[in-house]
């Protein structure tokens, strides 16, 4: 295999593995903020126990997220040197802003979040929790901005020619608010909330089914269900917005997502199907004119098809893009359906009697993760053959001095390390879940916490 395909595999593998964790941190972070806020408001010990339990799980996801995240920053330089030279002037400022505004906030307050429970007052701890969560949200902003700039470049001009060409920034805010960044950021945030919320739902559904920590789990389940309901419905709007943006800014990607070849025809909307690239056909179940309607609100309006683009400017992995995209949408619908149903039972007051539904939620934890992964595969494979859409080809973006052997070495290294890491993650996650949120009365509170316990007694008198 050549350096290009090896480097692509390595980047895809390391970034996909990394992306298991930050969405969990963002989503669990939000839920911890809600739980701890309720603890401060109600001073109910159950909320304290669940907060402290989820902080432990947060620590696990955050730790692996950080360790696997630095890899990408370095890989830009090691594997994609030409890309780094080309985009550094523009892309670099987003990355630097991420480090200084987001990551520092997150990691700084993390120490207090994890180890400060007995050191600072409950309010200061709560502020630290919010700090860590906001840090993770800000992190998403800058990373999605940087990636969106690769999808829909704006606020730059190209200087130099040939191998010396590079993009220079002309307008920082045009770069930040490039045509796709807001839509994609919303989509990523909501996807992250779903990843976190469904993990919380899964764990507490499991406790409920096993008759453990019942009172605590009911409260926690409802918090997470609220988040999941809002986020999955929000995703409907945000997903539509994102797709509309793709239709305007990256028509070749949209055509690949729906397997639309003919330029002059209205496009159907496929529910499922199989793309035959050679015959330029899709076999499957579709709504005629559906895509045209979604984009133009007119089922007879034509949609730009793949044939409108020169052969070397079309994405190649057409069937994969089609399948990943459709699976993401299907998983999104599944999440909406289940959370709406659960919310209905909640409203009827029979939620915790639906054992079958709780079982479904136990296993649903994987679904938002897959939806997030598949969404990114669609976005990144759909952008090919470009690494910066319309400007720089992936095949031109490589490091010239790196050999295939070197990449084989690092690829094997990452495969081994990440396999080990993932096994350890699952093992420890399982162990923490088995141990549960019981404090066993071993908590030594800081004087401030004791004081708060004092208020509690006063309140109950």
């Amino acid at each position: 295999m050549d350096v290009e395909i090896l480097s692509r595999i390595q980047f895809a593998f390391t970034v996909a593995f990394h992306y298991i964790y930050p969405p969990l941190s963002i989503g669990i972070g939000l839920i911890i903020v809600i739980m701890e806020g309720l603890y401060l408001r109600t001073r109910n010990k159950l909320y304290e126990d669940m907060t402290r339990f989820w902080i432990k799980i947060f620590a696990l996801t955050f730790g692996i997220g950080v360790a696997t995240g630095i890899v990408m920053e370095f890989e830009f330089g090691t594997n994609w040197a030409t890309y780094s030279r080309y985009v550094g002037d523009v892309f670099g400022s987003a990355l630097a802003a991420e480090g200084i505004f987001a990551f520092a906030l997150e990691s700084g307050f993390l120490g207090i979040l994890l180890f400060g429970w007995n050191r600072v007052s409950p309010r200061v701890h709560f502020i630290s929790t919010i700090g860590v969560w906001l840090g993770s949200m800000f992190s998403a902003i800058w990373i999605v901005v940087a990636n969106s700039w690769q999808q829909t470049p704006a606020g730059y001009h190209v200087v130099g020619e040939g191998i010396n060409a590079r993009a220079e920034i002309t307008d920082f805010w045009a770069m930040v608010f490039n045509p796709s960044s807001v839509d994609r950021l919303t989509h990523v945030w909501l996807g992250a909330f779903l990843a976190g919320a469904f993990l919380v739902l899964s764990v507490h559904a499991y406790y409920l089914l096993r008759n453990r920590h019942v009172e605590l789990s009911r409260k926690a389940f409802k918090i997470a269900l609220g988040v999941a309901l809002v986020a999955s419905l929000g995703q409907l709007v945000s997903g539509h917005q994102s797709a509309d943006g793709v239709a305007v800014n990256q028509p070749a990607k949209l055509a690949a997502m729906e397997g639309h070849f003919d330029s002059l025809a209205p496009a159907p909307l496929y529910l499922m199907g199989w793309v035959n690239k050679e015959a330029q056909t899709v076999t499957g179940l579709s709504i005629p004119g559906g895509l045209s309607f979604m984009v133009h609100f007119d089922g007879a309006e034509p949609i730009t098809g793949l044939n409108a683009f020169p052969e070397d400017e079309r994405p190649t992995a057409l069937n994969a893009i089609f399948q990943f995209y459709h699976l993401m949408v299907a998983f999104g619908m599944l999440m909406i359906g289940l959370t709406v149903l659960a919310a209905f039972f909640w409203w009827r007051g029979t939620l915790f009697r639906q054992r079958w539904l709780l079982w479904v939620f136990v296993f649903m934890v994987i679904v938002p993760q897959l939806a997030n992964q598949f969404g990114w595969y669609t976005a990144e494979m759909g952008r090919q053959p470009w690494v910066v859409y319309g400007l720089l080809r992936t095949s031109d973006a490589l490091s010239k001095v790196v050999t295939a052997n070197q990449v084989v070495f690092s690829l094997i290294m990452f495969t081994l390390i990440y396999t080990l890491l993932f096994a350890l993650f699952l093992y420890l996650l399982n162990k923490k879940i088995k141990a549960g949120p019981d404090s066993h009365g071993t908590i030594q509170h800081s004087p401030q916490h004791e004081e708060m316990a004092g208020w509690l007694e006063n309140d109950t008198q």
Binding site: A96, L105, L110, R119, S399, V401
Partner: protein, 347 residues
């Protein structure tokens, strides 16, 4: 054009060079002590001692590592050409660096999660070995930057990556390990008490000797084989104050340790780290990577820099962000001041 854009007569690439230098000094001072503490880990025999040593850095090591992420981002954003050339040239060292970085983070996170003896011993070894390896690799990279690379006219690396393992780079690597071990031991004296504290004070004395000997070797080696690195001091003799201060700071450390003034000793070991990096910066400026062939191929802060516009934007970002980062760093260190005690949230 570039030189027109100045603040106080300093052009933007130079300003950004100072920012990056400041970030890497911050990184070396902060992560330096926790890497150093990790390097000592296996010297502590008792389980409780190891836990205290680990929890002494527990709440802060992650925040310390952020400085590397920001420093790397600043280098990428400000000097993309350097970032591309250096990272692709040193592919294998950087990949190993990443591997050890992951192992170290995971060891800290996982070691105390299981009570089995073999489990803890395994992660303790992984933690300590990766701490030493990271310090060594940082030194090796620095040693290679000081020597220069073979660079072609397209400002790309034109040598063989195997050459990175050369005696000079290894000596700089060992010195970095020694410096961080001294720095880390001083940090641990501030966080420990009782018999562990007594043990660390003994280890600290050895670390100081280890550092002074290896630093002496590096200095000699540099003066004999790379005399060009001292050119700057001939053209601007007043800069000689920096190495003088560095030597004084180093000399002051054993004096303060003998007087048992560990907090002050920590300030001086931090200053030593910063002054030594300042020395490197002075020796190199305005070159970032010396071409070992044609000096026309030197990668300098001018031919590697982003546009003035981009540097201006990032200086604004740095001006807003730095006070924020410093304030919450200070807050975290203040919260966890004093001797380390274990509780139910500890590692």
């Amino acid at each position: 054009m570039l030189t027109l854009a100045t603040i106080l007569g300093i052009d933007y690439p130079t300003l950004w060079f100072l920012v990056v230098g400041g970030l890497f000094s911050g990184y070396a001072i902060l992560d330096g002590f926790d890497l150093g503490a990790g390097a000592w880990h296996l010297f502590f025999r008792k389980e409780k001692s190891r836990r205290i040593a680990l929890n002494a850095i527990g709440p802060v090591w992650d925040g310390n590592e952020v400085w590397l992420v920001i420093g790397g981002g600043a280098l990428f954003a400000g000097f993309p050409v350097l970032y591309a050339t250096m990272f692709s040239a040193m592919y294998i060292p950087f990949m190993l660096f990443l591997a050890f970085l992951i192992f170290r983070a995971v060891s800290i996170e996982f070691r105390s999660k299981e009570p089995m003896k073999w489990w803890r011993q395994m992660w303790d070894v992984a933690y300590s070995v990766s701490s030493i390896a990271l310090a060594l690799l940082l030194g090796v990279v620095l040693g290679n930057v000081l020597q220069g690379f073979p660079i072609g006219p397209d400002l790309e690396f034109s040598g063989n990556w195997v050459n990175f393992l050369n005696p000079y780079a290894l000596i700089v690597g060992v010195t970095t390990v020694a410096l961080f071990m001294m720095h880390g031991a001083i940090y641990l004296t501030m966080k420990t008490e009782g018999r562990l504290f007594a043990k660390i004070t003994i280890l600290l004395r050895r670390a100081i000797i280890f550092f002074i000997v290896s630093f002496g070797l590096v200095t000699l080696y540099t003066l004999i084989y790379f005399p060009h690195l001292t050119d700057r001091f001939q053209s601007a003799p007043w800069l000689f104050v920096v190495p003088v201060l560095a030597f004084l700071a180093i000399a002051n450390i054993p004096r303060l340790v003998a007087k048992r003034r560990y907090r002050r000793a920590f300030i001086f070991s931090s200053s030593t780290v910063a002054l030594l990096l300042a020395l490197v910066a002075i020796e190199l400026y305005p070159v970032l990577i010396l071409s070992t062939g044609d000096p026309a191929n030197n990668i300098t802060i001018y031919n590697a820099a982003s546009s003035t516009k981009s540097l201006g934007i990032m200086l604004t970002i740095a001006a807003i962000g730095t006070p924020l980062v410093l304030s919450y760093t200070a807050f975290v260190y203040y919260t966890f001041r004093g001797k380390t005690r274990l509780d139910d949230t500890s590692y």
